[in-house]
Every structure is written in structure tokens, then in C-alpha cells.
């Protein structure tokens, strides 16, 4: 296999190197890529969409359709991870043994064969491999998480003016919940964001995006033509584009947030949602 791999690699590399000889020089301002389409984007973005960040404008408006499917890709990755890994209760072979920890004293109780503890304030359910979370990490993260989340929302909201946008903000937002899961444990994170909520949020995020597009369709414009929203938002069509971009960025953010958490939950617990990383 190694030799085959080497041969394939060398052949492909040789082809690519051969072809690269005909490229325009690197960072050449006169290359076709820099002179054909991009000048239009650079020069017209502001007047057509009133968004200074050209990347955001192109991403969410000129090529908004790509981005919608990009979000869908993420969504489907989440669904696939869930579909592949999540072990439903029916599939579990035997009634599980449950462990409960007395919160104040740290005494652990083991209940066999699916018996449940009556709901009680003093006990929390834990898993067989439970380890007490580290105090420093826990406290440190507790303080940091709100700021991480705030920063994430800032990134989403300021996608027009600075780098960032729905996707990056969504990832950071998701990361903050993952951070919670890492610093405490998975159960805590799942309690705060239940699986059902995540599953629905995922879909809702993409739905905001696609639904905005479909709304444009209903307003007698082409799909994703945000200028159709002008009438709804009571602004001029160009500002409507800008707002449309913000709306879809929010959708992207929600979808990505939920999906990242979803994937993490499934991967780190191999679908059992008991004990994560």
C-alpha cells in the first residue's frame, strides 16, 4: 500500500507542479482571478449591500445560496453523527446500573438494573467513571464562559464590519458550551441544553436562513433576494440587504452552535450521553 500510495502521490504531485508552471505569478494584481470578478465585488459591495466587510457580503448575499448549503452541510453532519452514534434506550442491552452521588458528602450509591432514585435535591446522578471536576478548572471556566458567549454574539452581530459572522460566532458559542462540558461534565452541559433543544435549534437555524430566502420568494422576488424584505422591514432595499444578511447570519450562528454541541455530545460520549470527555 505504501508503494502504491507513493506512486499515486508522486504522479499527482508531478501533474500539479507541471500545471502550476502556467499559473500567473503568485500575488500578481493582474491575474485573471483578481481582475475579472473581484473588482465588481470590491467596488460595488458598499453601494449594493451597504456592508463594508466584502467577504460577508459575498458570503451571505452574492453567494448566499452557497452559504445556505454550507449551513445545511453542518446541519447534516450533526444529524449524521446523531444518527450514527446515539444509542437509544431500546437498543441498550440490559437495564443500566445507576449511580447517584450525595452532593454534600460525596457518598456514591449504586442502584442496579434500572431502579431509579426518587427525585431528590441532595443526590445527583453520575456515571461509573465519574471523576470529581477539578476546582481550578471549574471555577476558571465558570468565569470565562459568559465572556466567551458574549464575544461570540459580538462576532455574529459585527460580521458586517469586522471579520467574523454567523459561522465563527456560532462555533465560539458552541465551544463555550463544550467548555462547560469539559470543565464540569457532560451531564451538566446536557442539562443546560437538552438534546431535544439542540436538535430543534439545529433545524431552526437553517430554517431561519432558508425561510428568509423563501420569504423573499413569497414577496415576489427571487429566492434569497433580500431586497424583497424592504417592505417588511420598512427600509430601503439596500439596507434591507444588509439586514437580510444579519438575519441569515443569526440563523447560521444558531445552526452552527447547536450542531457543534450535538456533534461533541455524540462523539465524546459515543452516543450514550452519560460521561463525556
Amino acid at each position: 500500500m505504501k508503494i502504491i500510495g507513493l506512486i499515486i502521490t508522486v504522479v499527482t504531485g508531478a501533474l500539479l507542479i507541471y500545471a502550476a508552471a502556467d499559473f500567473p505569478a503568485w500575488s500578481d494584481p493582474a491575474s485573471p482571478a483578481s481582475t475579472y470578478l473581484s473588482p465588481h465585488f470590491i467596488e460595488k459591495t458598499m453601494e449594493e449591500t451597504s456592508v463594508p466587510n466584502i467577504v460577508t457580503a459575498v458570503l451571505a448575499d452574492y453567494r448566499g445560496f452557497d452559504t445556505m448549503f454550507e449551513t445545511t452541510v453542518i446541519f447534516s453532519a450533526g444529524v449524521v453523527c446523531f444518527f450514527l452514534l446515539r444509542i437509544s434506550r431500546r437498543e441498550e442491552e440490559e437495564p443500566e446500573t445507576r449511580y447517584y452521588r450525595h452532593v454534600l458528602t460525596g457518598v456514591t450509591i449504586q442502584l442496579k438494573e434500572g431502579y431509579k432514585m426518587p427525585p431528590s435535591a441532595d443526590f445527583e446522578r453520575i456515571d461509573a467513571v465519574w471523576t470529581p471536576p477539578d476546582l481550578i478548572i471549574k471555577t476558571g471556566c465558570r468565569i470565562l464562559i459568559p465572556f466567551v458567549q458574549l464575544f461570540a454574539l459580538y462576532v455574529i452581530a459585527h460580521g458586517h464590519h469586522s471579520p467574523g459572522g454567523g459561522f465563527q460566532g456560532g462555533v465560539i458559542l458552541g465551544a463555550s458550551v463544550i467548555l462547560l462540558a469539559i470543565s464540569h461534565d457532560l451531564r451538566t452541559a446536557v442539562r443546560r441544553m437538552s438534546e431535544k433543544l439542540i436538535g430543534i435549534l439545529c433545524a431552526v437555524g437553517v430554517f431561519i436562513y432558508a425561510g428568509t430566502g423563501a420569504l423573499c420568494l413569497l414577496l415576489k422576488q427571487n429566492f434569497l433576494d433580500y431586497s424583497a424584505l424592504a417592505g417588511v422591514l420598512h427600509v430601503d432595499p439596500i439596507t434591507a440587504r444588509s439586514h437580510g444578511i444579519l438575519i441569515v447570519e443569526i440563523g447560521v450562528g444558531i445552526a452552527v452552535l447547536a450542531t457543534m454541541i450535538w456533534i461533541y455530545n455524540n462523539i465524546s460520549s459515543a452516543g450514550r450521553y452519560r460521561q463525556g470527555l
Binding site: 494584481p29 467577504v55 454550507e70 449524521v80 450514527l84
Partner: protein
């Protein structure tokens, strides 16, 4: 000879992207461990992203976020040569997202495989498959 050297120098980004890509490709084909292959796959994808981003680079230009976007001189004329080509960036945002999505799915699959065979080494798995 000087031509060659100047060509090598003028396009070094492209050479390195090819190198990276070949590293990734080789790892995907030749590595035995499934997760290593996934790492190789990611390197492969990033190499392509590197290629695209290299396309967008423009000498003497700044990042594709308009200066003075709002404010008093919001409507001054924008010159295309001043800003880096944004289009490859847009494309690559998508590609990165696709990459992470693929990564998630691949890892989920690897976990399932591990649950079935208790190993991630391809040859060991195939030996187990053959035994059955």
C-alpha cells in the same frame, strides 16, 4: 536557469501547497490507522484551502474589509487594487465548514468501527473481517 529560479521563487506558495497536499494524500492512502487517515484527510483539505487563498493574494492590497465603511467619508471611491480578492475567501469559508463537517462524520464512523472491532488499525480490522 534563472527562469526556473524566478519561477520557483515567484510561486513558492503553490509549491508548498502541492507538498502539503501530497503529504495528506499519501497519509490517506498509506497510513494504516483510521484516525491517522482522517488527519491526513484534513491536511489534504487545508492544502486546497491554502491553494485558494493563495489565488486571492494581491500584492500591495489590504484585507477585504472596506476602510471607513461608515462615517463621514463613507462614500469615497473604492479601488479594486487596494483590496484583496474576497471571492476565494468566501469559497474557502465554505470549504472549511465542509471540512469540519466531514471530520465530525468521519470521527463518528471511526468510533462505531472501534465499537465493533476494538481497534483502529485497518489491517487488524480486515483480519477480523476475514476470520468471520
Amino acid at each position: 536557469m534563472t527562469d526556473l529560479i524566478s519561477m520557483v521563487v515567484a510561486k513558492y506558495n503553490y509549491w508548498i501547497y502541492i507538498t502539503l497536499m501530497m503529504i495528506g494524500l499519501y497519509a490517506m492512502i498509506a497510513k494504516n490507522n483510521l484516525v491517522k487517515k482522517i488527519v491526513g484527510m484534513n491536511i489534504f483539505q487545508t492544502a486546497i484551502i491554502l491553494f485558494y487563498v493563495s489565488i486571492g493574494v494581491k500584492k500591495g492590497a489590504t484585507i477585504p474589509i472596506l476602510e471607513h465603511g461608515h462615517g463621514p467619508n463613507a462614500h469615497h471611491v473604492v479601488h479594486a487594487v487596494d483590496y484583496i480578492n474576497p471571492l476565494p475567501h468566501v469559497l474557502m469559508l465554505t470549504a472549511i465548514v465542509v471540512g469540519v463537517a466531514t471530520l465530525g462524520v468521519a470521527l463518528a464512523l471511526a468510533i462505531r468501527i472501534y465499537n465493533n472491532y476494538n481497534t483502529l488499525e485497518e489491517d487488524e480490522i480486515l483480519a477480523q473481517v476475514r476470520e468471520k
